[in-house]
């Protein structure tokens, strides 16, 4: 490689980006770890003179039954959202193959529109759809089914459905491009061997796109884990996923230290998935 300019200059190009990330991204992550071992408060004396309290916050979390509830809520929210988006995204992509071009365009655009929307707008769309006097109940009423207070009776289900609606387009696009890359001759030879559509799907197509499905699952798990705006706009603090719970403890109960201990929990779960994701991508980088 040809060199021009001093060898120091290459760090000069990198430095501004690194400084910005260190200050506003890496430093807060380090502080997250640190604060989670303190009694930091939002106001009062413990706001200025907070103390190191060791594992107290973590011990408190173990005995705090609302943490357990929040963790379970988060797991349900994430699993159902991710499975829902992934399966629905795949089904749409799969069914769209070799269909009328205009039809594909229209269906694709509709699904995408819900995804492109800002989070708050998507949440409002979902809210008005599922609220007592909303479109869903109007339709159910038309079929003679009585009104259901979805958002009050089944708030978790409501936000899961909203999240699936909002996020499915991403999986759809991922699977569309994966399915387009399945070699035609592999499909042909499966057909020649007398495999029917379902056999080809499970025996040939799905094994080929398995890796894509895994990466996709990692990515949507990570984005679902941090979801705040959607849940908060639709149901306030009723559905207490970990981000909502963290927000409440830190900013409504003024317990910043305890709040960061809760974020540590989310951060750790996120880090596990991230490492897994980076490992998959890292392998591809070499290949």
């Amino acid at each position: 490689m040809r060199k021009k300019g001093s060898s120091l200059s290459k760090f000069g190009y990198l430095l501004p980006a690194i400084i910005l990330m260190l200050l506003f991204f890496v430093w807060p992550i380090i502080l997250t770890i640190y604060f989670s071992f303190t009694n930091l408060a939002l106001t009062g004396s413990a706001a200025a003179n907070f103390q190191f309290i060791g594992l107290d916050n973590y011990q408190k979390m173990l005995t705090d039954s609302s943490v357990k509830v929040s963790l379970i809520t988060t797991v349900i929210f994430v699993i159902f959202s991710v499975v829902g988006q992934s399966v629905l995204g795949f089904v749409i992509a799969y069914l769209m193959k070799a269909k009328n071009k205009i039809f594909r365009r229209v269906v694709g655009a509709i699904v995408l529109a819900g995804w492109v929307m800002p989070e708050t707008v998507a949440a409002i769309c979902a809210y008005t759809f599922m609220t007592d006097k909303g479109t869903l109940n109007e339709i159910l009423g038309f079929f003679g089914i009585g009104m259901v207070s979805w958002l009050f009776k089944y708030p978790l289900l409501s936000v899961v459905l909203a999240n699936i609606w909002h996020g499915t387009a991403f999986s759809m696009m991922v699977y569309q491009s994966a399915l387009d890359n399945v070699p035609e001759d592999v499909m042909e030879s499966a057909k020649m061997d007398g495999a029917n559509k379902l056999q080809t799907l499970f025996g040939v197509t799905i094994p080929i796109i398995k890796d894509t499905a895994l990466t996709n699952t990692m990515l949507i798990t990570l984005s679902t884990l941090g979801t705040f705006g959607m849940v908060y706009t639709m149901t306030g603090t009723t559905v207490q996923t970990l981000p909502i719970f963290m927000y409440m403890r830190a900013f409504k109960n003024y317990e910043l230290g305890y709040g960061t201990a809760i974020s540590m929990l989310v951060l750790l779960i996120g880090a596990v998935f991230s490492i897994f994701y980076v490992k998959i991508q890292g392998k591809e980088m070499e290949g």
């Binding site: 501004p16 990330m21 997250t32 699904v111 529109a113 008005t128 989310v266």
Partner: protein
């Protein structure tokens, strides 16, 4: 016969899915044009007043303007810094390049939500709390890892030889970047810029935590406040939502032009 039937089932299923997906969206469009909008989808009593009301209210306009400052500011910083960083990563030999790139990817996928409590604390102590410029910096920092990752991949696809030819003609390295590399990178720069812009434009949690005065609220928070009022005028709410969503939609359509070779996944390494 069988194949025909299967095809018909596929069309029916997709149509049902499309209708269900369209209904929540239809509300925004129809209610925003409706004089007496309600919460359910219904035929509108056509009017443009909701839009006029949204677009003539100074508080609303300011919220769009605030969102524009945050998003444009962050996108500009991200583009400049990530281009420089990507140049170093793409053109020089570096010892820990792979680790650096993988940590960028790692940071890309971490949920930002989790660091907001300490970020709040940092902002208070830096005097950046309730400051639009502070939000710009934070959004730029959190968008940087993904931008560097994308930019490096784009930069790798610009052949070294073009640049070397410019050096032979006596151009400095910086001039080489400006006159040779950047023009070839334009699609990549726009993609990263639009991605960052849209991410900031739609972000709710960051300004929600870091701002307190209502005159600094961007559209995401303004819409939330509007929505939370006791007597909401649904028509205006829908019109506000539509105006707020419009830039996201337009920008998305524009990026599709550049990414027409196929959708590239989060990592961007297939683009």
């Amino acid at each position: 016969m069988r194949a025909k039937q299967e095809k018909r089932v596929a069309y029916i299923v997709l149509t049902i899915v499309a209708v269900i997906f369209a209904l929540p969206l239809a509300w925004i469009v129809l209610a925003s044009l409706d004089k007496n909008a309600s919460l359910a989808v219904s035929m509108p009593d056509l009017t443009g007043e909701n839009y006029i009301e949204v677009l003539t209210n100074p508080a609303n306009l300011r919220s769009f303007f605030n969102g524009l400052i945050i998003s444009l500011g962050a996108a500009t910083i991200v583009i400049v810094l990530s281009t420089l960083a990507a140049y170093a990563l793409s053109r020089y030999e570096m010892k820990h390049k792979k680790i650096f790139m993988l940590s960028m990817l790692f940071m890309t996928s971490l949920p930002i939500t989790t660091v907001m409590v300490p970020v709040f604390k940092v902002f208070v102590s830096f005097g950046l709390y309730d400051n639009l410029f502070g939000i710009v910096l934070f959004m730029a920092a959190s968008g940087m890892p993904y931008a560097i990752w994308m930019m490096k991949n784009f930069m790798d696809s610009v052949p070294m030889s073009f640049e070397e030819a410019a050096w032979v003609d006596g151009a400095s390295r910086f001039r080489g970047i400006l006159k040779v590399v950047l023009p070839l990178m334009l699609p990549g720069i726009f993609t990263v810029g639009i991605y960052t812009f849209s991410g900031c434009w739609g972000n709710f949690f960051v300004p929600f935590i870091l701002l307190s005065s209502s005159e600094k609220y961007p559209a995401s928070i303004m819409l939330y406040q509007f929505f939370g009022q006791h007597s909401v005028a649904y028509g205006t709410l829908a019109a506000y939502s539509a105006v707020y969503a419009l830039p996201s939609i337009i920008l998305y359509v524009i990026t599709q032009k550049w990414m027409s070779q196929g959708f590239s996944m989060g990592g961007g390494d297939k683009g």
